[in-house]
Symmetry: C2
Subunit: 359 residues, 2 copies
Amino acid sequence: MARVINFNAGPAALPLGALERAQKELLDIEGSGMSVMEHSHRGKVYEAVHNEAIALVKELMNVSDDYDILLLQGGASQQFAVVPMNLLAQGKSSDYVMTGAWSQKAYKEAKVLGTARVAGTTEKDKKFSRIPKQSELELDPNAAYVHITSNNTIFGTQFQEFPDTGTVPLIADMSSDIAWRPIDVSKFGLIYAGAQKNLGPSGLVVVIVRKDLVEAGRKDIPVIFQYRTHVENNSLYNTPPTFSVYMLRNVLSEVKANGGLSAMEKLNREKAGLLYEAIDARSDVFACPVDKDSRSFMNVVFTLKTPELETEFLAEAKKLKMEGLKGHRSVGGMRASIYNAVPREGVATLADLIKKFKA
Amino acid sequence: MARVINFNAGPAALPLGALERAQKELLDIEGSGMSVMEHSHRGKVYEAVHNEAIALVKELMNVSDDYDILLLQGGASQQFAVVPMNLLAQGKSSDYVMTGAWSQKAYKEAKVLGTARVAGTTEKDKKFSRIPKQSELELDPNAAYVHITSNNTIFGTQFQEFPDTGTVPLIADMSSDIAWRPIDVSKFGLIYAGAQKNLGPSGLVVVIVRKDLVEAGRKDIPVIFQYRTHVENNSLYNTPPTFSVYMLRNVLSEVKANGGLSAMEKLNREKAGLLYEAIDARSDVFACPVDKDSRSFMNVVFTLKTPELETEFLAEAKKLKMEGLKGHRSVGGMRASIYNAVPREGVATLADLIKKFKA
C-alpha cells in the first residue's frame, strides 16, 4: 500500500527521508556491521549520533550556552513530576496556567510533591477553547516557576505569545509544538517536549534547561531524577533510548536540510491557513470551536453539524487515504494534526474535501 | 560490510530475523501505509503489537495470572528508585544483596527514599568475583523486600540459584539475564529488566510484578511512578516507546520460533561452555577471575597475562570481525557478552581464537 496522509496526533507522521535513511541503515550503520540499536551507547558510532542530535537541537532552536540540552526517557508525563521534584524547593509554591488536559495532569503531579496554584484558567467560561490573556493571569511573584502547556492537542489551542513572568522562571511543556517555528529560548527557564510529534518517535523527551536551575535543583531526590545527573553525563548516565535518539537526529537533519525553523514556520502557517479558511468558509456544515487568536497551528480541531455528517466525512477522507482525523476520545469531533512532517499536499487534499463536502 | 560478531554488553546483538522484519516493515506495517513509529498508541495496529509483546513475555516466561506485566520507560536505573518509591512503606526497611556496581546503584537510590540494609556482599573478600551463598545472607524477616541483581555484567557473575527469602518478596534486577532460561517466576515478588540485552533495543524496561504488591503500593507518590497506574492502563497511561515495544515483539517472536526458553538455555549453556573451557585450558595466557560456581552464562569475563597481550588479542579478534570484547572501563580485561541473540558460531570463533592465541 502507498503511504497514507497521516493526521495522527502523536505518535505522528515522520519525514519520509528520516524513515528511508533508517530503513537503509537498519542492519548496518556506517559500515560498522551492526544496527544502531546494537551499538554500545559508549561506543564511537552511537556517540556521534547522540552528539549530532544534541547539536541539531541547539543549532535549529538557537539555544545559548546558558542552557543544557538533555535527552531523557519517560515522556512529558514523567516531566510533570520531575520538574517539581527538581525545582519546587520546600516552602515554595508553583504557578500553573490551565489550558487543558495536559496542564491539569502536570498540576496534579505538582500537588503531590508540593504546593501548586492555578494562576489562570479558561476552563469555566470557555471549556478551554481559548488561551488566557496576560491580564487574566494572577502570578505569584515568589513562585518557584510558572508552568504552561504551549500547545493543546485536545482542544486545538496554542499560545501565540508567551506570558511575561518577570524574574520567575517560565516552564513550558512544548511536546506538541516544539520546533514548529523559531522561538526565543532565553524567555524560558525550562522547555520539555516528548519527541513523538515534531521530533521523532515516542520514548524520548527533550529537555532544555537553564544552567542555574540545574545547579539550584534539589539534591534530596533519587539520583536518576536529578537534572544535574544527566547534565554531568551528557545524557549518558544510564543507557539512553538509542534508536529514538538516532531518529531525532534523522528528523532534525531533514528539518535543517529543508531550511530550518523559519522555513517550517512558513510551511506550517500555510498548512493551517488552508484548513482554517476552508472550515470558516463552510460554516453551513463545519465549525471550529476555538477563538481565532488562540487557534493552534499544529492541531486543527473542528466539528460537523451532526454525528452522521462526521461519520460520512471520515469515510470520504478515508477514500482519499487520510488517517487519524477522529478527535480525541474525551471531546469528539475532528482533529487534523499537521505537524512539521505532514506535507502541504496532504493538508491541501483535506482542505479540498472540506470545501467540496456536501457543497 | 557484512554483519560482525557482536559481543557488546548492552545495547547488544539482536536476532537478525527481528531486524530484517523491522527493515521490511519500516515504511509500512501491515499494509497500513505508515511506519509502526507513526501509528497512534491507541490505534488498532499498534495495540495488536503491544498486546502481542505482553502475551509473549507471559507465555515464554510462563507468568501466572497472579502477576502483571508492564512495559515502561527509564530503564533499570529508574526502577532502582521506582521500586522503593512503590514498595518501601514508611517505617519499613529493605534488604539489598550486593554483588556489583548495579546493586550498589540500586541500594543508593533506596537509601535516598527510606531505609535500606546490606543483607550480604562479596565486595570485601572477593571484589565481587562470586555470588554470596544463602548461609552468608543476613536477611531481615520484617523487610519490605529483598533486592538482588541476578546477573552482573561487569564482574561476570550470576545467581545460579535464587535466595530463599521466606515470605519477604524477592525483587530481582534481571536486566542482563532475563529470558536466558526458564525460571520459576512465582518465587519473585517483582522482576525488572532493561530490554537492551536479551529482549530488544534500549528505551524499554519490562516489569513483572505480583498483583498484591501493586495493590499494596504507596499512593503518596506521583501518579506516573505508581505501578497501579500502568496496570490499570495496560501500560498505555502515557505514550509508550512504541518502536521499542515493536522490537520486543519481533525479538520474542524469534525466541518462540526457535524453541522458547528451554532451547535458549541449551544454546546458552553450550556457548558459555565453549568459552570457559577454552579459557581454563589456556591458563598459560588466560584467566577467568570468577569462582566456577558463580560464573555468568551471559557475560564471560577474562584477562590475559599482560596489557600488551590484551591489546594484541583484541587486534586478532578484530581481524575475525569480532566487536565489543573490551571489558568494562571500571575493571578492564576482556568481556564477551553472549546473550540469546549471539550465534553459536560467533562464540565458537572466539573460543577457537583463545585456543590458538600464542599457542
